[in-house]
């Protein structure tokens, strides 16, 4: 399956979803998206959803690492990666991503179980609730209503 990168935001909560075999020969689009995200004054959190990813190439891993470092530097928290595929988890851990991200290996198909979302420190409780709600909304986005993942849809062919 060809790799795709989808992204969406809701009330300052951002989700980046990678599906299929993700190989980036062009990464400027994602870089631009991240810049836009960091320029958002309402930014509260970001997570990466890799549950439907089959493979991730080194360039993409590098971009994710960069994202995590920037979030840590700028907002003081580690973004979460949701990943329930053992091969992907093995890859992430071998690269030392557990030190960059809040790795969540539980299935992310059940948004009800999400209570804590890594986010900008100092957010008030009401904001926190809003962020959790926002993530639930984003989480509920399935293949069918993928149109809502409209901020960034990059379909990159292999090689």
């Amino acid at each position: 399956m060809d790799g795709r990168i989808l992204a969406a935001s809701h009330d300052g909560a951002y989700v980046i979803r990678m599906t299929g075999d993700v190989r980036l020969t062009l990464c400027t689009t994602i870089d631009e998206y991240f810049q836009k995200m960091f320029a958002d004054p309402g930014f509260t959190s970001v997570w990466v959803d890799l549950c439907e990813a089959e493979g991730i190439d080194s360039t993409t891993l590098g971009l994710l690492a960069k994202l995590a470092i920037k979030v840590q530097d700028k907002y003081g928290f580690q973004p979460a990666i949701f990943s329930c595929e053992p091969g992907i988890n093995r890859l992430l851990k071998s690269m030392g991503f557990q030190r960059l991200f809040d790795l969540r290996e539980e299935s992310c198909a059940s948004p009800e179980n999400i209570h804590e979302i890594p986010q900008v420190t100092g957010s008030e409780d009401s904001v926190k609730d809003k962020v959790i709600e926002a993530h639930r909304v984003l989480m509920g986005l399935s293949e069918e209503n993928q149109a809502r993942f409209k901020d960034l849809i990059v379909a990159l062919e292999r090689g």
Binding site: G55, S58, T59, G62, A65, S94, M95, G96, R99, L100
Partner: protein, 404 residues
């Protein structure tokens, strides 16, 4: 006629050239004058043969204005000669008679317009001539852009050739940076193979003696492919060479420590600020004690140690180099069997293995060693490396073996 003359001034600037053909001298002169007034430079021919010869020279005309009832001009000759010429010049035909069949034939034959004498609607003729000129202009522009495209294409080919030569040169340099293979040191044999997916590879491996009993080796897989990744491999090669000479000149023992080397590599790659990172395995073999000190920096597949008892991964955790400043690495010290083979591959090998999932791939990979693994050559065949024509990713392999 007076309206035409007054309009003429407006149109003079964009004048074109018109071939005017008629056997009747008086008529042709009048027609030429009219055409000139309408803003075209007339070229007059009074015989069909003459006009045809003139057209054979492929003059750059905007329009042909031709008398239909002309001596020496028949539908047959015209039909034959014009396609022959591949004439792309619009034609306006003029006749004394308004014969429907002649008009139909003329239009089907490809004429742009048809006028009947007396020519009283000068404006219609002017519009018709204008259309012809525009049509011709469009063709010229097409022709021009085709030419410039061809020129650009030729230029691009040239540029690509130059780039290819650069890459070839780079590849030569990179190949020469690799250590000699095989390198035999007593019972130990070191060998390697590197298959780049492009000209230049982001994979690199090196081994060299340090002092009189140690051999330091490493395998590095820089993210991405091509030139920028290849430059990072040069940096790593240089780092190891520098630390080797620092031992001799400054008594700096960094080269004996895989973790210290990885930390240095980490800092140097981060300083490079090109967004490149690398997974690495660094090892130091003490040939006298037959021990291996190694450290793994995010590298997959992990090194495989094969001996009589079977094959196993040499475990080790650590971040890839070039990502984060405070990276941590583990150092492992193991006793080596009397007879063994140590195999290190870059992750490109995983791409060509049949299973889809990484965990399955790792199982399959170690299985190949369990089953075969007497010699690097056999392994290369078993893994399908000798059949790889276009590798999706760079593939590098380093083999260290010892026979007792």
């Amino acid at each position: 006629m007076s309206t035409a003359i007054s309009r003429k001034k407006v149109h003079m600037e964009s004048s074109g050239t018109a071939l005017v053909v008629d056997h009747d001298e008086t008529r042709v002169t009048a027609l030429a004058t009219l055409v000139k007034e309408l803003g075209f430079e007339p070229v007059v021919h009074t015989t069909a043969v003459g006009a045809r010869e003139f057209l054979h020279q492929r003059p750059d005309l905007d329009v042909i204005v031709c008398e239909l009832d002309m001596e020496g001009l028949t539908w047959d000759t015209a039909r034959r000669s014009l396609p022959e010429l591949d004439v792309q010049i619009p034609i306006i035909l003029i006749s004394d008679e308004a014969r429907a069949d002649a008009m139909m034939t003329a239009l089907r034959w490809g004429a742009s317009d048809f006028f009947v004498r007396p020519l009283d609607d000068i404006e219609a003729l002017e519009r018709s001539l204008g259309r012809c000129r525009r049509q011709r202009q469009v063709r010229r522009e097409l022709e021009q852009s085709r030419h410039s495209l061809e020129a650009a294409n030729t230029e691009l080919r040239g540029t690509i050739k130059v780039l290819e030569q650069d890459q070839q040169a780079g590849r030569q340099v990179q190949m020469r940076m690799l250590p000699s293979t095989p390198m035999v040191l007593g019972d130990y044999v070191f060998s390697h193979t590197v298959i780049p997916s492009l000209y230049l590879s982001g994979d690199f491996t090196d081994y060299f003696t340090v002092g009189d009993r140690h051999v330091t080796f490493f395998m590095a897989d820089v993210s991405g492919h091509g030139s920028s990744s290849a430059f990072a491999t040069v940096l790593l090669k240089n780092l190891f060479a520098r630390k080797r000479s620092d031992l001799l000149r400054k008594n700096d023992e960094t080269i004996y420590s895989p973790v210290a080397m990885l930390k240095r590599a980490n800092l140097e790659l981060m300083d490079l600020e090109v967004g490149k990172f690398a997974t690495m395995v660094v090892g130091v073999i003490d040939t006298e004690a037959n021990t291996l000190r190694y450290s793994v920096a995010g590298h997959l597949p992990q090194p495989v140690l094969v001996c009589r008892e079977g094959a196993r991964y040499l475990r080790g955790e650590g971040s890839a180099v070039g990502i984060m400043e405070d990276a941590h690495y583990e150092e492992h010290l193991i006793d080596l069997p009397d007879s063994f083979m140590l195999a290190l591959f870059s992750d490109g090998i995983l791409e060509i293995l049949p299973p889809k999932n990484l965990i399955e791939k790792e199982k399959y990979f170690i299985g190949v060693f369990e089953e075969t693994a007497d010699s690097p050559e056999e392994l290369v065949t078993r893994l399908g490396l000798d059949r790889v024509e276009t590798a999706p990713d760079d593939i590098a392999a380093l083999f260290i073996s010892k026979r007792d």
